[in-house]
Assembly symmetry: C2
Homo-oligomer: 290 residues x 2
């Protein structure tokens, strides 16, 4: 199919960080002919965005944006700010403008934004991509190439959803539609839980170092570095994710606690067969991912 | 200092797996002039070892080994087998032969082997190296280059310990002396605990997939693959490590459980400050490792 990026002509990216910046770069690299507008409360980021040519025009204030040119808004700020941004931009929007996002939590927030913004359509989008690096200066045009991307539409504007999907497909994403609540359960399991565990693991090593008087961080062998790489992720971003997806995060943490207790009890009882069973099943599943 | 590999002339490697094979290869590559003998109960491994020239002579039976030529024995089998191997070889050993190992658990087993083997010296060695790949066919001559290596000697044969240390230094290891019990606490913390957590994490995803009817392993984004890489490690090896180092493993698992509970409670209470504090401390510590 021909690349038309969903037919959009003017895209406003709100929040000039790694994801927003990488989207803008990818569009340019793949031949998007429209204009990319950027908005950030921090003028330094706008300046950087203009300087490294990630955006064509930049603003620090909603009312200065040439709204008549904007047919797609992509919110790429922390999820916590979505509601207030939606309320702030609603009255500026052109009648046919679609609003979307790139947040990692969907569920309730998608329904809330859908309600706030209607009759404008809100289409939830979660690109499964990112690095520990933050900031527009680390933006990469290839970040979404072959990366999975989940759309969580609500309502019945299939045609408009397809436009947003096309945009992402044309920069190389592998798209998939999912219910917003299912999305939050799935990503609590495969992403939020592992992050919580990694943060807790490093925390426990800090505690064990204190208790023993031995600086355990001097011995980062045995997979520890790989394992805890994600504990270097942004505390603010992850605090917000844990709170926005609270019920799923707590639920998956509980199931993990049961799994760990099962293994711990098997070690306590020296139940070799049970330990082998747990380890072998996990190994097999993990190998199936490679 | 001149490379003399501790002055050893005939080294017997018992257990022709990844670590034993890599030691033999490294010695050859670095210019060891003596002979390397290999012993494994599995004749296929001995055949492979001879074929790929990792060992010079191979045996499947203790009594066939030319013991008069052996001045160093390196046990590189699973830790569980150490005691019975020590008892089997003791009467064959030449008076001045030193026995060593490459096991990941020290503590009690080192003291036990010291007692069984005396008047021959036993020197515990733990090279912090390895891959998820097993088997002599995956042996790599560079596996120990610049890798950390812990010696856990007991008794007062400093000169003999220095010979073993020199051997490893001459193939590029960065050596360090540690009390065997301290060793087990340290590696329970930085290696055994992370492995237990990784196995339990994959186990919990199997459970959550069952409960929800969603195959969560279809969504391995968000660091999950890196995080659980070590869950692909050998179940038999890890069962043995968990049991051999049981008390330290259980203790560190408990401290980790407290850390996870602390984070979970902060999320439950939506205590933003507390969450940020835990996440920021962990992030800072983790970043300091890079």
């Amino acid at each position: 199919m021909e690349k038309d990026f969903g037919g959009f002509k003017g895209i406003l990216v709100i929040g000039l960080g790694l994801i927003g910046g990488s989207l803008a770069l990818a569009l340019k690299e793949e031949g998007f002919k429209g204009k990319i507008y950027g908005l950030d409360l921090n003028p330094e980021r706008v300046k950087t965005g203009l300087k490294i040519k990630v955006i064509d025009e930049g603003y620090t204030n909603f009312k200065d944006v040439p709204w008549q040119n904007i047919d797609l808004v992509v919110i790429s700020t922390p999820v916590k700010t979505f509601e207030s941004i939606a309320k702030s931009i609603k009255d500026f929007l052109r009648e046919d403008t679609i609003v979307s996002d790139v947040g990692s939590v969907k569920g309730g927030i998608v329904l809330k934004l859908y309600d706030i913004l209607k009759p404008h359509l809100f289409v939830g989008v979660h690109p499964i991509a990112g690095t520990e690096k933050e900031g527009i200066e680390n933006a990469k045009s290839g970040l979404f190439k072959n990366a999975r991307l989940i759309l969580t539409p609500v309502g019945d504007s299939e045609e408009k959803v397809k436009k947003v999907e096309k945009l992402w497909k044309d920069i190389g994403s592998r798209t998939e539609i999912m219910d917003p609540h299912v999305h939050d359960f799935v990503f609590a399991s495969v992403s939020h839980l592992p992050h919580a565990v990694a943060f807790a693991l490093v925390d426990s090593l800090i505690e064990l170092s204190k208790q023993s008087g031995i600086d355990l961080f001097k011995y980062p062998g045995g997979g520890f570095k790989d394992f805890t790489r994600i504990a270097a992720s942004s505390p603010v971003v992850w605090k917000d994710i844990f709170l926005e997806n609270k019920s799923n995060v707590l639920k998956t943490v509980e199931v993990f606690q049961q799994s760990l207790n099962k293994l711990k009890e098997a070690i306590e009882k020296e139940d070799e067969e049970r330990i082998l069973e747990i380890l072998s099943e996990s190994r097999e599943k993990r190998l199936s991912l490679d």
